[in-house]
Structures are given as C-alpha cells and as structure tokens.
C-alpha cells in the first residue's frame, strides 16, 4: 500500500484528504504543520507527499526543502495562490508538481498516481555529458572525480528522457507526458522550472547552457 504524507494546516481539508486517500487505499500520515510533517516522515518514510504552501511557522517551501534534503520522494505542493512566483518558488524548493486550490480531487488523485507509477527508466543506456557520467540503471550521475551528483527522480527522468530522444527536440507537452506521466494537466511552467533547476546542476554555466538547450518556440533538446 502506498504511503502518503499530507501536510495541511486546515483541519477540514486535511481530514477530507485523509478520508479520500484512505478510501483509495493509501496509508495516510497527516500533519498540521511542516515541523510535524518532517518528523513523521523521518520516522516512517512516505512514498509521496502533499504539502500546502501556506503553513503557520515552517512554510511549505521550507518543508519541501527539509523533505527533499533526505529523500527523492515526489512532492506535490498545494497552493491557494497560483501566481507564477509562488509556483516557481515551490518547484525550486524541490517540489515536483503543484496544484492550486480549489483543486478537483480526482485530478489530485490522478497526479499522485502518475507520480507513483513513474519508475526510473533502467533500460536507458549510460551516457556522458561533458565531465558527467549518467548511469540510468544505477540511477546515478557521477562527476569526473567519481562522486555522485544528486538529482531528484524527476530531474533524472527529465535528463534520461531528453537523452533517449537522441538530439531530437522535445516540446514541453512531450516532456509533461513522458516525465510526469500526465496526459493532459500540468502547465509548461512545470517543465521550465525543472529544466532550470537541472541546468544549475549539470551545466558549467547555467545561464549559457551547453547541453540542455532551449529551442525557441519548440521545446528543449539535449546536446550530447
């Protein structure tokens, strides 16, 4: 049974979410604050987390960072605001996805399932990216000195999917479908922020990318 961590300060929403996910066969850990959520997660690691942005003391962003520091679990943030700044900040704090209130519960469920369905693509061949070695079957990226470069599962997936396209351009839509497993929802900001985050990790100069290049008006491609 998948285990889900729900961090939400609104009692009623939290309870409703708990009931819904339990009804769908999840084991639910719920927490009213970020601190409690992180403590719960450290005691019993969940498979996925839903984190509200507007939390009392420790914000949703900080909670994401704290969870991300110890795990690659998918994090979906829930925001009552969908201003781009919030979305970008949330994704940059380590979240993989976001939904805005009032969300359609079925959509949230579908997204959570899509995240859980995703498994690292172990079949992809290893490849070199400048001084980095990407080894999909181990799920790691090694730097030239042999140390591991840490990528989240979404970032890793993004990188390997772009690599398996063999230099072809992938549109944001393609990437949403391949990386997030979404048929329809999600918006292009999700892709853009993740690309940016990935660049800061793999590019020597993230503002002038050598490998992960934007093709204006079309999408992204990986230059090997």
């Amino acid at each position: 049974m998948p285990r889900i961590l729900i961090v939400e300060d609104d009692d009623r929403i939290r309870t409703a979410l708990r009931l819904m996910f339990e009804g769908e066969g999840f084991v639910v850990d719920d927490a009213p604050t970020g601190e409690v959520g992180v403590a719960l997660f450290n005691r019993m690691a969940a498979d996925i987390a839903i984190v509200d942005i507007m939390l009392p003391a420790m914000t949703g962003f900080e909670t994401c960072q704290a969870l991300r520091a110890s795990s690659d679990l998918p994090i979906v943030i829930v925001s009552a605001r969908d201003e781009t700044a919030d979305v970008v900040l949330g994704l940059e704090s380590g979240a993989d996805d976001y939904v805005t209130k009032p969300f359609v519960p079925e959509e949230l469920l579908a997204r959570v399932r899509a995240h859980l369905r995703r498994r690292p693509d172990k079949s992809a061949k290893a490849f070199a990216l400048g001084r980095l070695h990407v080894i999909p079957d181990e799920g790691v990226v090694r730097q030239h000195d042999g140390t591991e470069l840490h990528l989240t599962s979404t970032e890793f997936r993004l990188l390997t999917d772009l690599a398996s396209a063999n230099g072809k351009i992938l549109s944001r839509e393609d990437l949403l479908e391949r990386v997030w497993g979404y048929d329809y929802f999600g918006d292009s900001r999700l892709v853009d922020v993740h690309i940016r985050r990935l660049r800061t990790k793999i590019e020597p100069d993230p503002s002038n990318p050598l490998y992960l290049v934007t093709v204006r008006g079309a999408g992204y491609k990986l230059v090997l």
Binding site: P102, V104, D183
Partner: protein
C-alpha cells in the same frame, strides 16, 4: 454637432475688442484734433484777412497806387491769394486760378456788405476763402488761404493713429493668445488626461507645476478625484478577488468530501445516492464558477501578471485544445490546419490562452453538444482560430452580449438548467484582448456557432 471653439472665441474677442477700441479712440482723437487745428487755422486766417482788409482800405484812402505793392507784401507774408474788386473792377496779383476759387456766393455777400467765410474743397485740396466788404471805398476784399499744410499734418496724424490701432489690435490678439494658453491649455490637458483614464490608463495624473491658482485647484481636484476612483476600483476588484479567495478552502473541503462520499456510494441508500449525484454535479459547477471568478477578478485587480511569451501557434492550440477537452473529461475535437499556415508564432500568456481554449470547448460542450472542429488558418498577418460546433448557433442579437459577464442567452434558458458559469466567454474575451487579439462569434460551416479568435502573428515564424 458642431461646437464653437473656446480658443477661437477668445482670440476673436480679444482681437476684435482691441481693434474696435483702438479704432474708436483713433477716430475720436482724429476728429477732435482736426476740429481744433482747423478752427485755430481759420480763426487766425480770418483775423489776418481783417487786418489785411484794413490795410487795403487805408492804402486806397491814402495812396491807391501803392496797392499793388501792398498786395505783394500781403501775399508774401501770408502765403495766400488776394483778390480785390473795386468799383466793380477786379484787381488781382495772384494767378488766375484763385479767381475761380472765390464762389459767387461770397462775392454776392461781400457786395451786399456782409463779411463771409467759406471752406471749400477744390482739386483735392481744402481752401479757406474770406470775403470782407470795404464799403467806404466801394471795394470788396477776398483772400484765399491754402489749407494744404494743415491737411498734411492731419494725414500724418491719421497714419500714426491708424498704425496705433493696428498695433493695439495685434497686442490684443497676443493677449488673447496668452489668455488662451493660460485658460484653454489646462482644459485641454484635463480633457486629454480624462481620455487617457477612460482608456484605462489609470496612473494618469495632471502635472501641478507652474500654474495659476484656479488651474492648480482644478488640477488638484482632478487628481484627487482620479485617485479616489482608482482606489474605489481597486477596492472593488480586491473585494471580489478576496471573496473568491475565501471560497477556496471551504470549496476544497466540499469537493474532497464529495469525492469521499462517492467512494462510498454503494453503501448509500438510493435517495442518498441521488442526493450525492446532485451535490457532486453542482459542486463542479460551483468549482468552475469560483475558478472563473478567481481568474477574472485577479485580472481585474491586476494581481495576476501577464507573462507574454512567443510560442509556435499550432503546438499551442493543439496542446490547449487537448488539455481543455480532457480537463472536463471530453473528447478533444479534431484540429484542422489550413495548408498554407506554415509554422506561425504568436505571443500569448500560455496559461491564459489555455484557459481561453478550455472555456470555448467547455462552452461548446454545454450549449452545442461539443465542438466539431478547431480550425487554424492565417489571414494576412493574423492567426485565426475557429472553434466550430454543430449546435443551435448564437442568435444574431446575442452575438455581442454573449461575451458579457453573467450574460445568459436564450440557449441557456431553453435548456432549463444553465450549467455554465456565465463567466466563461467573458474570460475568453478578456484574455484574448490581453494578447492584442479579438474574438467574435459567427455562424459556423456546420450550421452551429463559430467562435473566431484572431491573434497578431509574430515575425520570424519560418526561421
């Protein structure tokens, strides 16, 4: 309607006023001065004539032969022509022309023993004729004075006064211009600012520097009024936005709880199941309404920044249609791209565009049984996106109003239950306008409605 221009009126008033006043002043001066000068001249001429007549008389008494010399010296002294009739004999030292200048009237009067004077206008010159009878020696003395010198003086005076009048008029017009600048310019600025504000430039204010007190007051009142209005507008927009915002949390609970209930639908009695279905159906309407309200009020309040990016149009439409259709669990309508379209680029806010397409497809679903096709073509330098359905179409008289907020056409009423939010098309309209596009509704090729979005193309599409 033709309106008189205040600027023109002020100018004409000032110019004409100055002209009339200065002309009147000049005319009065001229007439007065002329009167005084001519009078003085005539008085002195008259006195001179009497003195001369006395001289003639004494000469005729004492030594008549000296008369010629006397006349000579008189003419030399007074620059006049002298005529003497003695014992019905004419005696003159002057040119013959002077004889004609003395009218019969004066001669008769002098003959009758009356001293007379007369001002005549001969050969474009004024002359002053004096007739003095000298009955003691049966002689009449006539003297003709030329007023030419006086006339020259008066002509110069007239010219000076005329020039003065013209100058004054010009000064009047200049004054008018200045007054116009001081009074009409602020009015024009106010009206320009008001027009800008009406056009949506709410940050427009009047500049308060360097103005008269009255204009300063107008400017300050105007600015205060605009600030008040803007504040009011913002407060209203924020209020609507806040209300929608406050609905988010309870709505999230409601929707999630309804989902939980649906999970346990089988355990419910038939009545409870039916109630649940009603609840779920209207919750989704409620949810759409709140989403639309949030979207539209955020745009109104300027809270949602517009992120315009240049994107390939066909991919954009394809993705938007797909996500729009599936967002509501519908089948995406086919997308037909005209053969000559190429790879056009458009500048839009992606999220807003997707929202607009979603709403159009949703609208077709609610009122026309779903969109039949989305057709993309290029007309000149604009991209045209048609969303066609095979429904009843939009009546001609509703085609403008269908984009108004909460407008419900006959189609909505005919269906008994209006499932739309009443904001969908208004939102489409607002969003499309944000990208510099237009939207209108027409009759589609399938006989239903055709919603036509037209967006400006961005150069460099086929690079």
């Amino acid at each position: 309607m033709h309106r008189r221009s205040l600027r023109l009126r002020l100018l004409v008033t000032f110019g004409l006023g100055a002209f009339l006043l200065s002309s009147l002043f000049a005319a009065l001066t001229y007439v007065g001065v002329k009167h005084v000068l001519v009078n003085d001249q005539q008085q002195s001429d008259l006195r001179q004539s009497f003195v001369n007549a006395a001289l003639v008389r004494s000469t005729l008494y004492t030594s008549p032969p000296e008369l010629a010399n006397l006349l000579n010296s008189i003419q030399k002294a007074t620059a006049s022509d002298v005529l003497i009739q003695t014992h019905n004999q004419w005696l003159s030292k002057s040119s013959g022309a002077a004889t004609q200048d003395v009218s019969q009237e004066i001669i008769l009067a002098a003959d009758a023993g009356h001293a007379t004077e007369q001002t005549l206008y001969v050969n474009q010159h004024s002359i002053f004729v004096v007739g003095v009878p000298i009955p003691a020696v049966e002689t009449q003395f006539f003297e003709v004075f030329q007023l030419g010198k006086l006339e020259r003086t008066l002509t110069i005076l007239l010219q000076v006064l005329g020039a003065g009048a013209i100058l004054t008029s010009l000064v009047g017009i200049a004054g008018g211009l200045w007054v116009t600048r001081r009074t009409v310019r602020p009015l024009e600025r106010v009206s320009a600012a008001a027009a800008l504000i009406a056009g949506g430039e709410l940050t427009t204010r009047l500049v308060t520097r360097n103005t008269d007190r009255e204009v300063q007051q107008l400017t300050e009142s105007f600015n205060a009024m605009v600030s008040q209005l803007v504040e009011r507008l913002e407060r209203d927009a924020r209020f609507a936005s806040d209300v929608s915002h406050e609905l988010r949390s309870p709505l999230t609970t409601l929707a999630t709880t309804a989902t939980v209930l649906s999970q346990h639908r089988d355990e419910l009695s038939p009545v409870a199941q039916q109630s649940l279905d009603l609840l779920v159906a209207d919750l989704s309407v409620f949810q759409s309404l709140v989403e639309d309200l949030l979207e539209i009020t955020r745009s109104d309040a300027g809270a949602a920044p517009v992120l315009i990016e240049t994107v390939p149009a066909i991919e954009l439409v394809r993705q938007s249609v797909r996500s729009g259709a599936q967002h509501h669990g519908l089948v995406a309508p086919p997308i037909e791209v005209a053969p000559d379209v190429g790879e056009p680029l458009v500048s839009v806010d992606r999220r807003r565009f997707e929202r607009a397409m979603t709403n159009l497809i949703d609208n077709a679903h609610h009122y026309a049984g779903g969109a039949v096709a989305v057709r993309i073509s290029v007309e000149g330098n604009r991209l045209v996106i048609d969303v066609d359905d095979a429904g009843p179409g939009v009546p001609t008289d509703e085609r403008e109003r269908v984009f108004q907020r909460f407008f419900r056409g006959r189609a909505a009423h005919d269906r008994g239950i209006a499932r739309g939010t009443g904001l969908g098309l208004a939102l489409v309209h607002d969003h499309v306008l944000t990208f510099g596009g237009t939207i209108n509704v027409d009759e589609g090729p399938e006989g239903g409605a055709r919603f036509e979005i037209s967006l400006p193309l961005i150069e460099g599409g086929d690079e």
